[in-house]
C-alpha cells in the first residue's frame, strides 16, 4: 500500500527533472538563434578590412587583432554623427508631442464621458492597427503640400500617427484602473482637472507613462519607411536610412563600417531596454489585453 505513492512521487520528480533538462536545452538553442546575428555584427565591426576580405580564417572570431578603426572613421569622417543628431531631435520632439496628446486624451476618455467618447476610444484602437505602409503614399503628397519634403520635420509630422494611438490606448487602461476614490478625494480638496492630472493621475500611473514613452521612443527611433520615402539629402537623414543608404556605397569591403554603424545606431534603444525592461514588457502586454 505504501509503495504506490512513493513510486509515483519518484516518477513525478524524474518527470520534472527531464522537463527541466529539456527546457534548458531548448533555451540554449533559442538564445544562440536570437543572438548570433548581433554577435556576428559585433565581430565584423572589430575586424580589419583585410581580415574581412580573407577567405581562409574562421569568420566567427577575430583572428587578426581587434581594431576600432571602423568606429573611429564613422564618428570622425562620415555623416554618421549628423544622422545621430537628426534622429535624436526627431525622437525627442515626437516623444514629447505624443505624450502630451496621449495623456490629455486618455485622461478625458478614461474619466470624463462626453458624447462620442466611446466611439473615439474605439477609433483610437483601430488607428493603432493601421500600419505605416498603408498610408505612406497619400502622406507623401501631404508632406509635399506642406513643403516638408526632404526635411526631418516631415517625420515629426507623421510619426505621431504611429505613436499616439497606442500610447493613448494603454494610458486609458492605466488611468481607468486608478480607483475613483482617489480623484474624488482630490476634487473635494478643490483640485481642478489640470491639478488632478498632474498631482494624482500622472504620479499614480507613472509605470504606464514610462511604458508609453519607451514605446514612442522605440517607434520614432526605428522607423525606416517614412524617412526612406520623404528624405533624400544626407544632411536631413536619420540613422536608419542614413546607415542603410549612405554607408553601402564605395568599395566592396564596407562591411566593417556598415556593421559598426548599425550597432551604434541600435545602441540607444537597446540600452534603454536593458534598464527599463519590465516597463517595456508591461506596456507591450497591456496594449493587447487592456479593454
Amino acid at each position: 500500500m505504501t509503495a504506490v505513492p512513493v513510486t509515483s512521487a519518484t516518477s513525478l520528480r524524474a518527470n520534472r527533472r527531464w522537463a527541466l533538462i529539456a527546457a534548458y536545452a531548448c533555451l540554449g538553442i533559442f538564445v544562440v538563434f536570437f543572438l548570433f546575428p548581433p554577435y556576428y555584427m559585433l565581430v565584423t565591426s572589430l575586424k580589419t578590412n583585410a581580415e574581412i576580405a580573407e577567405l581562409a580564417s574562421n569568420p566567427w572570431i577575430v583572428t587578426d587583432g581587434v581594431t576600432f578603426g571602423h568606429y573611429k572613421h564613422l564618428l570622425t569622417e562620415s555623416s554618421f554623427p549628423r544622422f545621430f543628431l537628426n534622429t535624436t531631435i526627431v525622437t525627442v520632439v515626437v516623444v514629447a508631442i505624443t505624450m502630451v496628446i496621449s495623456v490629455l486624451a486618455a485622461y478625458s476618455l478614461a474619466r470624463l464621458r462626453f458624447w462620442g467618447s466611446g466611439v473615439l476610444a474605439t477609433g483610437v484602437f483601430l488607428t493603432y492597427l493601421v500600419p505605416d505602409t498603408l498610408l505612406f503614399i497619400p502622406l507623401f503628397k501631404i508632406v509635399g503640400w506642406l513643403g516638408l519634403l526632404d526635411t526631418y520635420w516631415s517625420l515629426i509630422l507623421v510619426y505621431p500617427t504611429l505613436t499616439v494611438p497606442f500610447c493613448t490606448w494603454i494610458m486609458i487602461g492605466y488611468f481607468g484602473s486608478i480607483p475613483r476614490e482617489l480623484d474624488e478625494a482630490a476634487l473635494i480638496d478643490g483640485a481642478n482637472h489640470l491639478q488632478m492630472l498632474l498631482k494624482v493621475f500622472i504620479p499614480v500611473a507613472l509605470p504606464g507613462l514610462i511604458a508609453a514613452t519607451i514605446f514612442a521612443f522605440t517607434v520614432a527611433w526605428a522607423n525606416f519607411l517614412y524617412p526612406l520615402a520623404y528624405i533624400y539629402s544626407e544632411s536631413e537623414m536619420v540613422l536608419t536610412v542614413g546607415t542603410v543608404t549612405t554607408l553601402i556605397k564605395g568599395d566592396v569591403f564596407h562591411w566593417g563600417g556598415l556593421m559598426a554603424g548599425a550597432l551604434l545606431a541600435a545602441a540607444p534603444p537597446v540600452i534603454l531596454y536593458a534598464f527599463l525592461m519590465d516597463y517595456y514588457i508591461a506596456g507591450l502586454t497591456s496594449g493587447a489585453t487592456k479593454g
Partner: protein, 294 residues
C-alpha cells in the same frame, strides 16, 4: 460628498478640449490620407485626369501583381506560424525553469525585438553574403554546398521569412509568457495528483487557458507581417525578378521610385480589406476579453 464629483464631471467642454489634438491627428493624418488615397488611386500617372478604376484593372491584368499578392499571403502565413510556435516553445521553456533565472533568459531573447529591424536586417544581409560571410563558410566546413541565399527565388523567400521570424518571435514570447504566468498553479497540481503527464497538462490546461491570448497575438502579428517593409527592402529590394515583393515594397517601387503615385496608392489600398477584417476580429476579441475580465 456624493454630489460634488458628478458636478465637476459635468463639464463636457473641458473633456472635448482635451481630446482635440488627438481628434485632429486622427482626422488630418489618418482619415483624410485614407480618403485621399482612394481619390489618388483613380487618377492617371501625371495626376491630371480621372481614370476611374483603370489603375485597378491594370493591376489585375499584371502577372507581377498577382505574384505580389501570393507572396504577401504566403510570407505572412508561414512567418506567423513559425513565430507563434517558437514563441510558445520559448515561453514554455522559460516558465519551466526556476523563477530566479527567468529574467535573464527572457532578457536575452528579447534583443531581436529591440533592435530597429532595418538595422538588424543589415546584419542578416551580411550573414547571407555568398562568398565572404559566415553562414556559407560554416556550410562549406560541413561539406554542404554554399547556398545562394538572396539570388535564388526559393532561398530569398526562405531568408525573408527567417529574418521576420527572428525579429517577431520575441513578441509572441512576451505575450505567451504573460499568459502562462496568469494560469493558477493549483490547476497543474491537481492534474499531477490525477497522474497527468506533461503533454496532457499542456493540451488540457495550458492551451485552453491561453487560447484567447494566442488568438489576439496571432491576429496582431498577421497585420504587422502582412504590412512588412523593412526586411524585404534591405535584403532583396523585391528581387530576384520581383519574386519577393510584398504589398508595401511593391507600392514603394511603383509609387515612390517609379513616380506613379496613383498606381502605388492603388497597390497599398489592396492591404486595406484584409486589415479591416483582421481589425474587426481583434476588436471583437479584445472587447470579449475586457468583458470577461470585468
Amino acid at each position: 460628498m456624493r454630489v460634488l464629483p458628478p458636478l465637476l464631471r459635468r463639464k463636457p467642454a473641458v473633456a472635448v478640449l482635451m481630446c482635440v489634438p488627438l481628434f485632429a491627428l486622427i482626422l488630418g493624418l489618418v482619415a483624410y490620407p485614407f480618403f485621399h488615397a482612394l481619390f489618388l488611386a483613380t487618377l492617371n500617372k501625371a495626376e491630371t485626369a480621372f481614370v476611374g478604376l483603370d489603375n485597378f484593372s491594370f493591376l489585375f491584368g499584371r502577372q507581377t501583381f498577382w505574384m505580389v499578392v501570393r507572396q504577401s499571403l504566403l510570407f505572412a502565413l508561414v512567418a506567423v506560424v513559425f513565430k507563434a510556435l517558437i514563441g510558445l516553445a520559448a515561453a514554455h521553456a522559460i516558465n519551466t525553469i526556476p523563477t530566479k533565472g527567468q529574467r535573464k533568459w527572457r532578457g536575452m531573447m528579447l534583443i531581436p525585438w529591440v533592435i530597429p529591424p532595418a538595422l538588424s536586417t543589415l546584419g542578416w544581409w551580411w550573414l547571407f553574403e555568398p562568398t565572404y560571410s559566415a553562414i556559407n563558410w560554416g556550410l562549406t566546413k560541413l561539406a554542404v554546398p554554399a547556398v545562394p541565399w538572396l539570388s535564388d527565388t526559393f532561398w530569398a523567400r526562405f531568408s525573408i521569412i527567417l529574418v521576420n521570424v527572428w525579429v517577431g518571435a520575441p513578441f509572441f514570447l512576451i505575450m505567451y509568457l504573460a499568459a502562462l504566468k496568469s494560469i493558477p498553479g493549483e490547476l497543474y497540481e491537481a492534474a499531477e495528483m490525477d497522474g497527468a503527464g506533461p503533454w496532457q497538462k499542456f493540451f488540457h490546461i495550458t492551451l485552453p487557458m491561453i487560447r484567447n491570448i494566442i488568438a489576439i497575438t496571432t491576429l496582431f502579428s498577421i497585420i504587422v507581417t502582412l504590412a512588412n517593409f523593412d526586411i524585404v527592402r534591405v535584403l532583396t529590394q523585391g528581387g530576384p525578378l520581383n519574386t519577393t515583393h510584398l504589398f508595401a515594397t511593391y507600392a514603394f517601387r511603383v509609387g515612390i521610385e517609379s513616380g506613379d503615385i496613383p498606381l502605388g496608392a492603388a497597390v497599398s489600398l489592396f492591404m486595406f480589406p484584409m486589415l479591416a477584417i483582421l481589425a474587426f476580429i481583434i476588436l471583437r476579441n479584445v472587447r470579449r476579453r475586457a468583458a470577461s475580465l470585468a
